[in-house]
């Protein structure tokens, strides 16, 4: 159906660039998600505990400011945020191109999203259990570390799965501005050439990747949840 030359190109790519690209894609998926959780997990917890009827109310102007920042960051389309944050990448990792340069913008794009996911999951924790911990004399930090996070763990793991998949998609999108990974191959060879076999091959690989992350995630969530047995 497609020309011999386009299949030839696909073969070449699979032989020479594919492994590197999939490695980059995995890097651009896992590292920014991890960074996003490092920031987003405490932030999401804070959004719950610092609420005016939370277990440790914070000054409400501060809470409102955090909410506004999260909403702002979440409302900027990813590609635009990416371009805006690239100068920061230059500062942090020393370059504006390639997969390393994308780690910072991806983390910046993902952490507000993660914070919201975490917030929702932590809010789901039964208020009665928190109350019981308070009645036992637990401090706020103890409640966070021993009640909120452990009790929300299955939901948080499910959040992690969602975040990984979203970031994986963002990473592929960053191919448009020289990001690296499968997305770059799809755009440079598949779209600009254009070479449909390459484009479809990359899309199929991305779909498979997402499927794998989702089903591993589901397994882990199911195994970690002690509520249904």
């Amino acid at each position: 159906m497609f020309s011999e030359a386009s299949w030839e190109l696909l073969r070449n790519i699979m032989e020479e660039e594919f492994l590197t690209a999939i490695g980059e894609t995995l890097l651009m998926t896992f590292v920014p998600t991890l960074l996003a959780f490092v920031i987003g997990l405490p932030l999401g917890v804070l959004l719950v505990t610092g609420d005016k009827d939370g277990i440790h109310p914070m000054p409400q102007p501060l809470m409102q400011a955090i909410n506004v920042i999260i909403n702002l960051l979440r409302s900027v389309p990813f590609l635009i945020l990416l371009i805006m944050v690239l100068p920061l990448s230059k500062l942090v990792v020393g370059t504006r191109v390639g997969c390393k340069a994308m780690l910072v913008p991806l983390a910046v794009a993902a952490f507000p999203f993660v914070a919201r996911l975490v917030e929702t999951s932590v809010r789901e924790v039964d208020a009665g259990v928190v109350e019981a911990a308070q009645a036992m004399g637990a401090s706020t930090l103890q409640i966070v570390c021993k009640v909120l996070i452990p009790e929300a763990k299955p939901a948080l793991l499910s959040n992690l799965t969602v975040a990984l998949i979203t970031v994986c998609g963002y990473g592929a999108m960053s191919g448009a501005v020289g990001g690296g990974g499968l997305g770059t191959i799809a755009i440079n060879y598949g779209y600009y050439r254009p070479n449909p076999p390459v484009l479809y091959a990359m899309v199929i690989v991305l779909i498979l990747l997402v499927q794998i992350i989702q089903s591993i995630g589901n397994q882990i969530v199911k195994r970690s949840d002690k509520r249904s047995r």
Binding site: Q134, A135, G137, Q142, P150, K226, R227
Partner: protein
């Protein structure tokens, strides 16, 4: 042990207005007693018990535990004081992601209590033994029945060696048999460990079974308090009567000046005395209590009626009722006695 002085609690409602959930509550709960607080739903029981360990901060008044005023404590002192006062709940409130044993270890992990992980585990096992669940150490709450969950919650509450056990409707989610076993356990713990137990409930039977003294809470006010036997045999307040004689609940709240007691000793079953009175004579009476049963095709038991305010209607009703075969009618002044 626990002294509550002039405790008031106001809630600010969504529209900014204030709602007084507790009004000048005074209680003195002694060392080692089982004290009941009974009231209908919405009476303020949970608010009161939550004020006792300051989960809810009183608007005014004092809560003294062993003579120390909890309301004057700094957060850190208060957390320490709470360890001497455990609580169990209607909904058990166990950590769902921890096993029974790990749940019991929880209070032991909070610091201020000595011990390594191995010691905690040992202690938790002993407590499981005490509550009668030695084989459920590794079960998760989702694998336990309601009664078993409450036992784990009790073991968890005992872990910090509390002087007081606050029980907020601890048996209200359980079936009657399980309720009995949990009450027996509470009684045993009170006897063996000397722990003071405060039982919050809307069920009279619970108070009757294990409490020595009881306070009746209604509308945020302690209506009366004293020995269970006294209060329950002779409630002095309307709220007390309502709780003690729930069958005495008014079905219609028509004003009833005079009351009569009908004793059924063999009325033909199916004879609709009250509705005949209403339909044929056009007289409406107020059924205050009714406790009747049928044997064969005859009705036995008694019923207390409130007669209409209108004197002639009342007289006509009496005449009609006295004529019904199998029914004795006597006028009563106070149906409660």
């Amino acid at each position: 042990m626990i002294e509550i002085k002039h405790l008031c609690k106001d809630f600010t409602l969504a529209d900014g207005s204030k709602f007084r959930a507790l009004d000048d509550v005074n209680l003195d709960i002694g060392d080692g007693e089982i004290f009941g607080i009974i009231g209908l739903s919405g009476a303020g029981k949970s608010t009161l018990v939550r004020c006792m360990n300051l989960l809810e901060r009183p608007t005014s008044g004092q809560v003294l535990l062993d003579g120390k005023d909890l309301t004057a404590m700094r957060p850190k002192e208060l957390r320490q004081a709470r360890k001497g006062m455990s609580m169990i709940f209607q909904g058990f409130n166990l950590l769902m992601q921890r096993t029974a044993l790990e749940n019991i270890c929880f209070p032991l992990e909070l610091g201020g209590l000595r011990g390594e992980a191995a010691w905690r585990k040992k202690r938790a096992k002993e407590l499981l033994e005490i509550v009668g669940l030695p084989d459920k150490a590794d079960a998760y709450p989702s694998q336990l029945s309601g009664g078993q969950k409450q036992r784990v919650a009790i073991a968890r509450a005992l872990a910090s060696d509390p002087k007081v056990l606050l029980c907020d409707e601890a048996t209200s989610a359980l079936d009657p048999t399980t309720t009995q076993s949990i009450l027996a356990l509470l009684k045993q713990l009170n006897r063996d460990l000397g722990v003071t137990v405060v039982v919050i409930t809307h069920e009279m039977r619970v108070v009757q079974q294990i409490c020595g003294r009881v306070a009746i809470l209604d509308g945020g006010v302690i209506q009366e308090s004293g020995d269970v036997a006294d209060i329950f045999s002779n409630p002095r307040t309307e709220a007390g009567r309502r709780l003690v004689m729930p069958e005495g609940k008014k079905i219609h709240s028509l004003p009833a000046n005079r009351q009569v007691r009908l004793t059924f000793n063999g009325l033909s079953a199916g004879e609709p005395v009250i509705s005949t009175l209403a339909v044929e004579q056009g007289i409406k009476v107020n059924i205050i209590t009714a406790d009747t049963h049928s044997i064969g095709d005859e009705t036995f038991g008694e019923m207390v009626l409130g007669l209409p305010e209108d004197e002639t209607d009342a007289a006509r009703a009496l005449i009609y009722l006295r004529d019904v075969p199998g029914v004795t009618v006597e006028e009563v002044t106070d149906y409660v006695q």
